[in-house]
């Protein structure tokens, strides 16, 4: 018998989350180098309306891409946190994003079609996560300190790979390399949004299917096994889905840090650690955060654009330091 008072706030949380995302979307459409007049857009007729429509049609894919990438990174972070029983797990800090970027960059250097870059990023993400998790294991347990240290080492290594590729690549390819290293949504097109969507959808569906089992795993692997979960299969599926989400996000937007750390942390403070609520709210929150951060990156020093990764790091790094300080 769940009391009515417990249900009402939950509904409000969702209304608030979706409203926030909608507001972020409108902000993303409205701000940029050129100011958009909503009255022109809505008036419908004449040259100003045409211009307004043109601006929206140019900015809409960017907003959509930011939303998908933000949702994918936040979901990936939330799932990895439950899986590793560690609130500090984040695709960027654990080197997963770096591995994905290196995979995509190497594929580009090898002349592989850009369409295959998500696959290369996915493989890079898996290789990196597996490597870090294997090295950080001590006595059958994942050690938190070692996990973060090996994540740092992986990031340094993949930066070297990217710089290496960057120095031998042609100048046009070099620009792409820079994009992967700093993260950018500037090259957003409808085609990129459509290409990313199936990866994001598949990863989200898999994580959604495992959400209830992740609740049992977040208490402990032995706990989940004793309650009937095939933990090895669950770990594998969640790990692959999270790596795919990170890989796809990196392939289309480069390395954008801290979204997977910040958003689940905030969402957990609102709905608790029930993955069946935490995962969807993280997705909505991640989308809203990245759309807002992208809008900020465009207007903060307009007409120059800040790299989106710099904006998320500016917010995420202090929060990460605060979380580390609170660790016992």
């Amino acid at each position: 018998m769940r009391s009515a008072t417990a249900v009402a706030p939950r509904r409000y949380i969702w209304i608030a989350g979706v409203s926030l995302l909608a507001a972020a979307g409108l902000l993303g459409l409205a701000v940029g180098g050129v100011r958009l007049s909503w009255s022109d857009l809505l008036s419908g007729e004449g040259a100003p309306a045409e211009t307004a429509r043109l601006i929206v049609s140019l900015r809409a894919p960017r907003v959509a891409l930011a939303a998908l990438v933000g949702a994918a990174l936040a979901l990936s972070g939330a799932a990895m946190q439950a899986l590793l029983k560690n609130p500090l797990a984040d695709p960027f800090l654990l080197g997963t994003s770096g591995g994905a970027a290196a995979g995509a960059a190497l594929a580009t250097l090898a002349g592989v079609s850009p369409l295959a870059s998500p696959v290369a990023a996915f493989l890079g993400a898996i290789a990196s996560s597996l490597g870090v998790a294997t090295l950080a294991r001590r006595g059958g347990r994942l050690d938190l300190q070692r996990l973060l240290l090996y994540g740092l080492i992986a990031n340094a290594f993949f930066s070297a790979v990217l710089l290496g590729v960057f120095s031998v690549a042609s100048s046009s390819a070099a620009r792409t390399m820079l994009f992967w290293m700093m993260g950018s949504l500037a090259d957003a097109t409808l085609g990129r949004v459509v290409s990313l969507a199936p990866y994001a959808a598949l990863g989200s569906v898999i994580l959604g299917l495992y959400a209830a089992r992740l609740n049992l795993i977040a208490v402990g692997e032995e706990n989940a096994a004793a309650l009937g979960v095939d933990t090895e299969a669950a770990k594998r599926s969640v790990f692959l889905a999270a790596s795919m989400l990170t890989g796809a996000a990196v392939a289309f937007a480069g390395i954008i840090g801290f979204v997977g750390l910040l958003v689940p942390h905030a969402a957990r403070a609102v709905v608790g650690n029930d993955q069946r609520r935490l995962l969807p709210l993280s997705a909505v929150g991640g989308a809203a955060l990245l759309v807002t951060a992208d809008a900020l990156s465009r207007v903060a020093f307009a007409p120059a654009e800040l790299p989106i990764g710099a904006v998320t790091a500016a917010v995420g790094a202090p929060l990460f330091a605060w979380m580390l300080l609170r660790e016992p």
Binding site: K85, A212, R213, A218, V219, A225, A226, L227, G228
Partner: protein, 260 residues
């Protein structure tokens, strides 16, 4: 016959913990598993709970090999109460108890009113109903132990596996915990397998004692049959004085080396 282990082998990586364990536990019995540290007691529980796979041999439940049954089906029949859990994320005590309903629920999501009613009734029975809304990661050791007992009750399992249930509890919490355990057992007559270092507790509580050494059964039977000075000396490498119905350690064993 209910639970049977035959030639059970299991371990962690290259470390062997069980080296061909044989054991039989009847329905409704309280069985205590005794042995020195590293003898394989907890490993035995983990294999029965399907946390750890057996590398050889098998566990049979009513004559059926455990490994041939679907995991969720065995989780409905066997509840595991861990020695301790390290809760990283906050979780309401009630939600922890509700997890006991997960093996019964569709998609491991025990959200129905019936599940909730069962969980609350189990918390009532274990005297932890007032903790339902509290964060389980902030509870004391004694409270956590009883919350997990409530979870086993909510799981409605016929077999309970308890790993050192009284270790680290002060006398009052120990008495309260054992009270709840005894009461639940009297009401529901399920099978209890408990691992413990307390020989006195085992002698007092158990119908059957399983004495393990180096991953094999050293002796099995009623407390009077098994808890002899000689068996205890062989199991623990120390001399016991059994006078007055107590199990007092009186000194190192002289024949320790010959046991290996």
């Amino acid at each position: 016959m209910r639970l049977e282990a035959r030639g059970l082998q299991a371990g962690y990586g290259r470390t062997e913990a069980l080296r061909g364990l044989d054991a039989r536990i009847l329905a409704g019995e309280i069985a205590a598993v005794l042995g020195e540290n590293g003898s394989g007691k907890s490993t035995f529980l983990k294999v029965v709970a399907r946390i750890l796979p057996a590398s050889a041999g098998e566990v049979r439940l009513d004559g059926e090999a455990l490994s041939s049954l679907p995991r969720r089906q065995t989780a409905r029949r066997i509840a595991y109460v861990p020695q301790s859990v390290d809760l990283v994320f906050p979780i309401r005590a009630l939600d922890l108890v509700l997890q006991g309903r997960a093996p019964h629920a569709r998609g491991f999501s025990p959200d129905g009113p019936a599940d909730r009613a069962r969980a609350l009734a189990a918390m009532q029975a274990c005297d932890v109903a007032d903790l339902a809304e509290r964060d389980a990661s902030a509870l004391s050791g004694g409270e956590t132990r009883r919350v997990f007992l409530a979870r086993a009750l909510a799981q409605e399992a016929e077999i309970w596996l308890l790993d050192e249930p009284t270790s680290g509890l002060d006398p009052r919490h120990r008495v309260e915990f054992l009270d709840v355990l005894r009461r639940s057992h009297q009401e529901r007559h399920f099978t209890i397998v408990l691992v413990t270092h307390e020989i006195d507790l085992a002698a007092e509580l158990a119908d059957r004692i399983l004495l393990i050494r180096h991953g094999r059964a050293l002796a099995e039977g009623t407390p009077t049959e098994v808890l002899t000075a000689e068996n205890l000396r062989r199991a623990f490498d120390v001399q016991f004085d059994l006078a007055g119905g107590r199990f007092a350690v009186i000194g190192p064993s002289s024949g320790a080396a010959s046991e290996r």
